[in-house]
């Protein structure tokens, strides 16, 4: 897929909670084709401490409106800077990057997101829904305030929620949600995005039920386009770049992911 560098205009910037913002971006020219799971590298201007671009998943696209959204969690100077941008400001974005999720057709699928890991899942749920799949979405967080955009997924399928403190949905970790309890799960694939510990645990559950699992990794990156080899993950075929071979991987390709993972990792990890 051809990559572009464009100055995108911020149409809106909504604060979802104390540390998450939803940015709506547009361009004068038509936005390039993108698939769920791909990401964008955003240049951060005006932050003296931020040197490299910052990678963010494509959160949602609206072809008719020629817009795309990024969901940003403020964790440091780069993300805080982007979250403080106002309507009308320009964002220099390199995209679309990487390989996305495998899109099933007319099957039953589960999407699992933890923390800010819901970012790529909206676009994914939308596309899977359009392709005739029966979609379920399971979202986990520490507390009710961490569960983002849960209602937005309801138009695509069933939404399940778990919080570690029990303030919303089932109490406990995503991986111990009752949806995942049965020995036989109806899903042909589980798509997962969140902290590594959570994804490993979900991959382990999928493996134990004989279900495919695709995970989206967030390794630290310098270039985001395969030029530096900084972002590698160990696969059964050696080190591979997360930015070009991923960020989405079938968990079976990743070394030590399906066999040794512990079930039930906290979202803090």
């Amino acid at each position: 897929m051809k990559k572009f560098i464009l100055d995108l205009k911020i149409l809106s910037n909504n604060r979802l909670n104390h540390n998450h913002n939803l940015l709506e971006l547009t361009s004068d020219s038509p936005l390039p084709p993108m698939v769920p799971g791909q990401f964008a590298e955003v240049r951060v201007d005006g932050s003296a401490t931020t040197f490299l671009r910052r990678p963010f998943s494509i959160h949602r696209i609206d072809k008719a409106a020629n817009t795309m959204h990024l969901l940003i969690k403020s964790v440091g100077d780069g993300t805080r800077n982007i979250s403080n941008l106002e309507k009308g400001a320009l964002l220099n974005v390199m995209f679309p990057l990487g390989k996305g999720f495998t899109l099933k057709q007319n099957e039953e699928v589960l999407l699992v997101g933890g923390g800010c890991g819901v970012a790529p899942l909206y676009f994914l749920a939308d596309q899977l829904h359009r392709k005739g799949n029966k979609v379920s979405v399971l979202i986990g967080g520490r507390s009710a305030g961490d569960i983002l955009l849960a209602n937005e997924y309801r138009s695509f399928g069933n939404v399940y929620i778990s919080t570690e403190d029990g303030t919303l949905g089932e109490k406990g970790m995503v991986t111990s949600h009752s949806l995942l309890k049965p020995e036989k799960l109806p899903f042909s694939v589980i798509y997962c995005c969140g902290p590594d510990g959570m994804m490993k645990a979900v991959a382990h559950i999928a493996e134990s039920r004989g279900i495919e699992c695709e995970v989206s990794l967030e390794n630290t990156m310098a270039c985001g386009m395969g030029a530096c080899l900084c972002c590698v993950v160990e696969t059964h075929k050696g080190n591979q770049c997360v930015c070009t071979e991923g960020p989405v991987f079938n968990s079976r390709r990743l070394k030590g992911w399906t066999a040794e993972a512990e079930v039930g990792c906290s979202l803090d990890k």
């Binding site: 990559k3 931020t50 040197f51 630290t220 386009m225 030029a227 530096c228 080899l229 972002c231 993950v233």
Partner: protein, 303 residues
């Protein structure tokens, strides 16, 4: 029309802008963004005698105006390069240069011998300066006898332009430069990355899997500029300047300090079009200063 052509030994470059090894992949990663053939040339990522998996993740730490890397020469080895990568490089009609690395002299020689037969590889850059491999690499570049030994050995088997890339992690860069010149180098490029370190204070752990790594980017530019200046005064062979070059003005500073050509590295990560912007900027500078031949800038520092 500004004259942008420069010569490095017997390589004619249509302009002085090259790409630094390990920061430009094999060129194709940048095809979406720029016309790679518009550059003076490309230096592709390091090739070693055998396949190398490189270092474990994490391999990168961002630092003030720069970054540390610990990639560790990940590549599939010279035979794979010859069979699978070389054919893809044929589409570039500018100067394609291979970067040669290893941990033993025999390894360097094996790679150089195999690349000597490839017509489209116009030169090799001998990386005797990589800080990211346990043995060899930088060790060769940090003492005169070992720098001479590896340069001499490769010189014997390599007929085309031999560029030797120096490590900045030495006390006297000029001494090493003179040593490799005497051993048969046709040109010198510098600098490779500076040895550095990053710590995650919250976790009380090093950020990189290898603890230390190579620093690059604008943070190292003043050090690089100083070394290019010292080396170009010490040797007669051409010098290629590298280190933190991000803009045309950076490139011109290196040429004024004595560089016949320059390489753009880390800047490619933030702006994949940096190289072509630098070429345009050099033309603009020449126009503003009434310079018709870019060669007039080389060593043009007035002190």
């Amino acid at each position: 029309m500004a004259g942008l052509e420069v010569k490095v030994h017997n390589l004619s470059l249509k302009n002085p802008v090259l790409t630094a090894s390990g920061t430009f992949g094999y060129g194709e990663e940048f095809d979406d963004f720029i016309d790679v053939n518009a550059l003076g040339g490309i230096i592709v990522k390091a090739t070693t005698s055998r396949h190398r998996d490189g270092n474990p993740y994490p391999r990168m730490a961002e630092t003030p105006m720069g970054m540390l890397n610990a990639v560790g020469l990940q590549n599939k080895g010279v035979d794979h390069f010859v069979d699978y990568i070389y054919p893809k490089l044929l589409k570039y009609n500018n100067c394609v240069i291979a970067n040669v690395s290893d941990s033993t002299i025999e390894g360097y020689v094996e790679v150089a011998e195999k690349l000597n037969h490839l017509d489209h590889i116009r030169a090799i850059e001998l990386n005797i300066s990589c800080p990211n491999v346990k043995e060899g690499g930088m060790a060769f570049g940090t003492s005169c006898p070992s720098a001479i030994a590896v340069t001499r050995a490769v010189r014997k088997v390599y007929d085309k332009t031999l560029i030797v890339k120096l490590s900045p992690n030495v006390t006297s860069i000029a001494e090493i430069a003179v040593a490799v010149e005497s051993a048969g180098a046709d040109a010198i490029s510098l600098i490779n990355t500076l040895l550095g370190m990053a710590i995650d204070a919250e976790k009380r752990r090093p950020v990189l899997s290898t603890i230390t790594g190579g620093l690059s980017g604008p943070a190292i530019k003043p050090v690089a500029l100083r070394m290019v200046w010292q080396v170009s005064k010490a040797v007669k062979i051409p010098v290629i300047g590298i280190g933190g070059i991000t803009t045309a003005v950076d490139a011109i500073e290196f040429m004024l300090a004595g560089a016949s050509a320059i390489q753009v590295g880390t800047a490619n990560f933030i702006d994949p079009t940096a190289t072509v912007k630098i070429i345009a900027g050099i033309e603009d500078y020449m126009q503003r200063h009434g310079i018709s031949d870019v060669k007039d800038l080389i060593g043009g520092l007035m002190v």
